[in-house]
């Protein structure tokens, strides 16, 4: 894990170094003023020195100072913006996962019927159509034409509904497909036949026996799922003008605000690595085969 992080950090650093132009292109600044700015931001020192400073600062949690918002520290910016994104992301994840699991189970139980077929078609659409297309559709029809829900900004719970829906479509679709495959796989296993042979009825077979076995692998895709959500927020926040971290990131890209770009990148990376770690640990706890790798007697 740490190696990955180090690679990203170094990569980001050197990438920033190679970017053409400087953020201080304002003609109003005189040469001396520019020099002072450079000095302030440490951009006049030789590259290796800058690198070391950079790494040291990261460990302290200091990602530097934003160019665009004069003087504000990057960490400060991140801290301010993370709220909205966190809410959006978590909401989408929870809603998406629950709906996805339910949809997947229903599709598996009604295998090869029109319900199954329909659910799968919906899933394919859900993972294929880009989320900004959905967002656009929702904005247009629900927000403008029907005027049921607000389409921009972040002033209350109802403001989060459309963005959450847009983000969670992908989650629902992916998890539904996955759950369906797993469920079908489990239902075909020998131990389910054993359970039937014991005289257990359908309901208890599904809930007690299949669910746990089918749901455990979902934990493995939570990692990549979070990444998708993360990148999804970049677009969705921009479309719905949600004041979150994603929107900030996009803005910073447009304004070449390097410290913010780097800072947010590193932050996202830490987040992602952290989630992968948690997922690994979770998987080990839930699956008794791993938890108790007992000896054979």
């Amino acid at each position: 894990m740490l190696v990955t992080f180090w690679v990203i950090a170094t990569f980001t650093f050197f990438l920033m170094q190679t970017l053409p132009g400087s953020p201080f292109n304002d003609e109003r600044l005189s040469e001396s003023q520019k020099e002072r700015l450079y000095e302030r931001y440490g951009m006049d020192e030789p590259v290796p020195l800058q690198y070391i400073t950079y790494m040291k600062n990261i460990f302290k949690g200091d990602f530097g100072v934003s160019f665009q918002y004069d003087g504000r520290s990057v960490s400060n910016i991140i801290g301010e913006r993370i709220g909205a994104s966190a809410v959006l992301g978590t909401q989408s994840l929870i809603v998406g996962t629950i709906l996805g699991i339910i949809l997947g189970i229903i599709a598996a139980l009604r295998h090869n019927t029109s319900i199954d077929y329909g659910a799968m078609v919906i899933s394919v659409i859900g993972i294929s159509v880009p989320n900004f297309v959905f967002a656009g559709l929702l904005q247009y029809w629900v927000g403008v034409r029907l005027q049921w829900l607000p389409v921009a900004f972040w002033e209350g719970f109802e403001y989060s509904i459309l963005p959450t829906i847009s983000l969670s479509v992908f989650v629902i679709a992916t998890i539904a497909r996955f759950m369906r495959t797993e469920m079908l796989d489990v239902l075909g296993q020998d131990y389910i036949v054993t359970a039937r042979a014991k005289g257990l009825n359908g309901f208890s077979i599904i809930i007690k026996h299949s669910l746990r076995n089918a749901a455990i692998p979902i934990v493995t895709i939570l990692g990549p799922m979070t990444v998708s959500l993360l990148t999804g927020t970049l677009v969705i926040e921009k479309i719905f003008s949600v004041p979150g971290l994603g929107e900030q990131f996009v803005k910073s890209i447009m304004t070449n605000d390097f410290p913010v770009i780097m800072g947010v990148t590193l932050f996202y990376s830490i987040l992602f690595i952290g989630i992968v770690l948690i997922v690994d640990i979770l998987y080990g706890i839930i699956d008794p085969r791993i938890r108790l790798s007992g000896g054979v007697k």
Binding site: V129, V133, G136, L230, L234, I253, Y268
Partner: protein
């Protein structure tokens, strides 16, 4: 247990004359791929997807030549015209009659006599031509990226799995580190540095994308190595090249093709995504991504600009996903005899 009382003649109890050899096979010979194609065709969704892809490909190649408007002809007097198609214009509810959402017939208003099938954009350029040209570019980037991904991925995964041991371990370590890096972040950073362009976008996607293919190929080859016909080849004295080209790769084609089928929509999505956050291709080049981005700005007033490119990109992604799914099902050897 009851003996039937039927007329049984004596001659029925003579020993039977010899019949056909017992080693016959009744069915005609089918190669593996013929079988796969048969199963694939039966899957209606997948087959539909295939047809859609073919349609879109054909339109992408021939579409821009269908009408006489150029790709980059700007004509401000014809800006923002809604779509208008002959014959279909008789049915107002479809929306191809040149009338915008306020009910105004813009063609009359601007005194335009020609038909713009998909309408025009804010600079008066014909959208039909631009969209199909854009599709071409998007598809080109996607196929290019997928092909390079395939080459690198197959080589890396194949070598890693075939030689095994320490080489495999080392190569796997590298992959583990790379997998932990979120793709889109790297792509964004790379585009920032390299400046958007067809090659740079393709490059950025390839650098992050080959890992997936490598892992699949490695998994497949490792599985195949356990099959006894590989061992048999070895005892017969087969050299490495023979093993790889005659045995391992043909039997890995399945997962390789499936993965490629799923790489393409990912690439298209990435390109559109980049345009959306401002890192897409620059004008005058148009791709589906840039068209969507442009269309977005005028969503509320002139929805037709976004609608067509959004629909087409969705169709492309849906069909590739359907075909990929269908292939995955068709390649699954559930039946043995």
């Amino acid at each position: 247990m009851i003996i039937k009382n039927k007329e049984l003649t004596d001659e029925m109890f003579l020993p039977a004359k010899s019949r056909n050899s017992t080693e016959q096979i009744s069915r005609p010979a089918n190669t593996y791929w013929q079988d796969v194609w048969r199963r694939f065709r039966k899957n209606k969704a997948a087959f539909t997807g295939l047809i859609l892809i073919t349609l879109i490909l054909l339109l992408a190649i021939f579409g821009p030549y269908a009408n006489h408007y150029g790709y980059d002809e700007q004509n401000l007097s014809r800006a923002n015209l809604p779509p208008k198609i002959p014959i279909l214009e008789r049915f107002p509810w479809i929306g191809f009659n040149g009338v915008d959402i306020n009910g105004v017939d813009k063609y009359e208003e601007s005194k335009v006599t020609g038909y713009y099938w998909f309408g025009t954009d804010n600079l008066g350029r014909d959208l039909w031509t631009r969209i199909w040209k854009g599709t071409r570019i998007s598809l080109y980037i996607a196929f290019l990226a997928a092909t390079i991904d395939l080459i690198i991925g197959v080589a890396y995964g194949g070598i890693s799995a075939y030689y095994g041991g320490r080489i495999d371990n080392m190569m796997q370590r590298i992959i583990e580190v790379l997998v932990g890096i979120p793709h889109l972040i790297v792509v964004i950073l790379l585009i920032l540095v390299l400046q958007p362009g067809i090659i740079s976008i393709t490059l950025a996607m390839v650098i992050t994308g080959w890992v997936g293919m490598a892992r699949i190929v490695r998994g497949q080859v490792l599985k195949l190595k356990e099959h006894e016909y590989i061992l048999a080849s070895k005892t017969l004295g087969a050299k490495n090249t023979r093993m790889i080209w005659k045995h391992l790769i043909p039997n890995s084609m399945g997962p390789i093709i499936i993965t490629t089928m799923f790489t393409i929509p990912t690439a298209i999505f990435t390109e559109a995504f980049l345009s959306f956050i401002g890192l897409g291709l620059q004008p005058p080049i148009a791709s589906l991504g840039t068209l969507i981005n442009d269309g977005y700005k005028l969503l509320r007033i002139y929805p037709h600009m976004l609608a067509f490119s959004a629909i087409i990109i969705s169709l492309i992604m849906i069909s590739f996903n359907l075909v990929g799914d269908g292939l995955r099902d068709a390649l699954d050897p559930k039946m043995r005899k």
